[in-house]
């Protein structure tokens, strides 16, 4: 469990993090979202005791980070793939971390194996690709078999197999009852991984809800229906006070998440349904709607202006 209480960080005149209060609970994957410059990295650094909060504090299992004895056994973090001395081998990098927290050497071999780096364990880290560096960072996070794990942009540089692996890893860590806190810019990835979301914008908390609630509250959802008896169904729905629209291709659409109700009505009136699918907007759409006001670098429209042409 991570508890963040009134966390504030000021750099000169700029307020990077503004009175954040939230909890990250065990047993689920909690996603941490926000546009660039929203204060995600600063918040994560303060959680690890790397940056000092201007006000407020963070508790890891009830304790402040600097009061943890052997912190790697409580919380493992992947901050960025570059937190490694390039001249050191993957093995020695992990070994020095392990020793600093009294973790046995055998565990180093284990995590190297777990992330698939055993074959290159003796190679210097500077020869690693972005994806391999990421795996090394994840190995470091797993080293102390901690109850809390934190990942900042974990899929950066991984290939599809790696992305798949890290996603399942995070889910299974949460299923074991651990606390998993992960930041990412990839909404499509997040939608597949996280159960709960903490969203910040310009340093302030924008949302702290379950994934399903977040999407429901911040986007448009509807039910798509296909039936050989559209006229009858329309009548039945109309009677029940449910508004349905004819959409293209012989389908009907009903606003909101009323699939169960429609299913019951159809069964009651013996209407055959060939499709009854709740459609939800994507997490991306919901996120865009929520954070529309707090983005730092806006690009102009999609097409390049053609003010300049050859000839």
């Amino acid at each position: 469990m991570i508890e963040v209480e009134g966390l504030t960080k000021r750099y000169g005149a700029k307020l990077a993090v503004d009175r954040l209060t939230f909890r990250v609970r065990p047993g689920i994957v909690t996603g941490f979202l926000g546009p660039n410059g929203a204060g995600k990295s600063t918040t994560m650094r303060m959680m690890l005791g790397l940056d000092r909060p201007t006000a407020g504090d963070v508790r890891i299992d009830g304790r402040r980070y600097e009061n943890l004895q052997d912190p790697l056994k409580y919380i493992g973090a992947l901050l960025d793939a570059k937190g490694v001395h390039g001249g050191r081998s993957a093995f020695h990098h992990l070994l020095c971390l392990a020793q600093s927290n009294g973790i046995p050497k055998s565990r180093v071999h284990e995590v190297l194996h777990a992330v698939g780096l055993t074959a290159v364990a003796r190679r210097k880290a500077k020869g690693f690709s972005l994806g391999m560096g990421q795996r090394l960072g994840i190995a470091g996070a797993l080293l102390g078999d901690p109850r809390i794990l934190m990942f900042d942009e974990p899929v950066n540089g991984l290939d599809p197999e790696g992305i798949h692996w890290i996603r399942n890893l995070m889910k299974s860590l949460a299923a074991q009852g651990r606390t998993v806190f992960v930041s990412s810019h990839l909404m499509s990835e997040m939608a597949l991984t996280a159960d709960h979301l903490v969203v910040i914008g310009q340093g302030r908390l924008l949302a702290d809800t379950s994934m399903a609630d977040f999407i429901q509250h911040n986007s448009h959802s509807y039910v798509r229906i296909r039936t050989p008896q559209p006229e009858r169904l329309l009548d039945v729905l109309d009677e029940a006070g449910i508004k349905a629209f004819r959409a293209g291709g012989g389908t009907l659409e009903v606003d909101g998440g009323k699939a169960e109700r429609i299913g019951e009505l159809a069964a009651e009136h013996r209407i055959v349904l060939h499709e009854l699918s709740p459609q939800q907007a994507s997490l991306e759409e919901a996120f865009m709607r929520l954070t529309a006001g707090s983005v730092e670098y806006h690009a102009q429209g999609g097409t390049p202006p053609t003010g300049w042409k050859k000839g």
């Binding site: 600097e66 973090a77 001395h85 001249g87 020793q99 600093s100």
Partner: protein, 256 residues
């Protein structure tokens, strides 16, 4: 408990990067080789030296002549031990693993200091014996008065230079900035101050000049230095302690 863990960890760190090996071996090789060269020159030039120079000739100090260059490699060693953490981003990983920043800093410096002392002392003894063998009939013996003190002092001097560099690098973080300040400080400013009579007296209190005193067995002509060999080393230690306090204050407060 935690301290021994940090020390073990820092030992792994220091022995697993190539820069440790090449900076320390460069320090040893340069010091010994240059000392030998100067000793050889002194022996060949002996007959053309004035009687006064012959009288005040310090064979021990002569064999340490290579330290003026060798200490630069020690500075590089000290700077890289610390600033590599910053330039690679490793510092965040390290401080997340050891949030007690005082323990982290002093554990790191303790390990690097121990290693620097071992190499420094070995270098000092080697430079002495190689130098004396080269000097032949004009050599000093390790049993002579003050000689053993000077040889051990040579090792201490190199160690303190490295520690001072570590402390400065902790305050400045980047390797380029740290070397850019330390190199001219020891190589130019100290020399310039010593060369100009008006500033000569100030120059004596700089860490390198004060620390140098420990390696002298025969005091130079007209020596009016207000401190003895151990007094000089004491001044150097004060510099080092001040730098360490600064480093501690900075790392305690700063965002990683």
């Amino acid at each position: 408990m935690a301290t021994t863990q940090v020390v073990r960890s820092e030992w792994t760190k220091i022995r697993s990067v190539a820069s440790t090996v090449w900076t320390l071996s460069l320090a040893a090789v340069v010091t010994v080789a240059l000392g030998m060269l100067i000793s050889l020159l002194s022996r060949n030039e002996w007959d053309s030296m004035s009687t006064r120079d012959q009288l005040f000739f310090d064979p021990t100090y002569t064999s340490f002549a290579g330290m003026s260059l060798g200490q630069l490699a020690m500075i590089v060693f000290g700077v890289l031990v610390v600033s590599n953490e910053y330039s690679t981003g490793m510092i965040r990983t390290s401080l997340a693993a050891v949030p007690q920043r005082g323990t982290f800093l002093f554990g790191k410096i303790a390990v690097a200091t121990g290693l620097a002392f071992a190499v420094g002392l070995a270098t000092s003894f080697l430079a002495f014996f190689v130098g004396q063998t080269t000097l032949g009939e004009h050599s000093a013996s390790i049993g002579d008065e003050g000689v053993l003190r000077a040889v051990i002092g040579g090792g201490l001097y190199m160690t303190l230079i490295a520690v001072f560099s570590m402390a400065v690098a902790t305050m400045l973080r980047g390797p380029m900035l740290s070397l850019g300040i330390l190199m001219p400080f020891f190589f130019l400013i100290s020399g310039i101050l010593a060369a100009v009579s008006a500033t000569e007296k100030i120059g004596r209190f700089l860490p390198d000049q004060a620390g140098n005193k420990i390696m002298q067995v025969v005091p130079p002509v007209d020596d009016d230095t207000p401190y003895g060999p151990w007094g000089g080393l004491g001044i150097m230690v004060l510099w080092v302690v001040a730098a360490l306090l600064g480093a501690y204050a900075v790392i305690k407060k700063r965002d990683a």
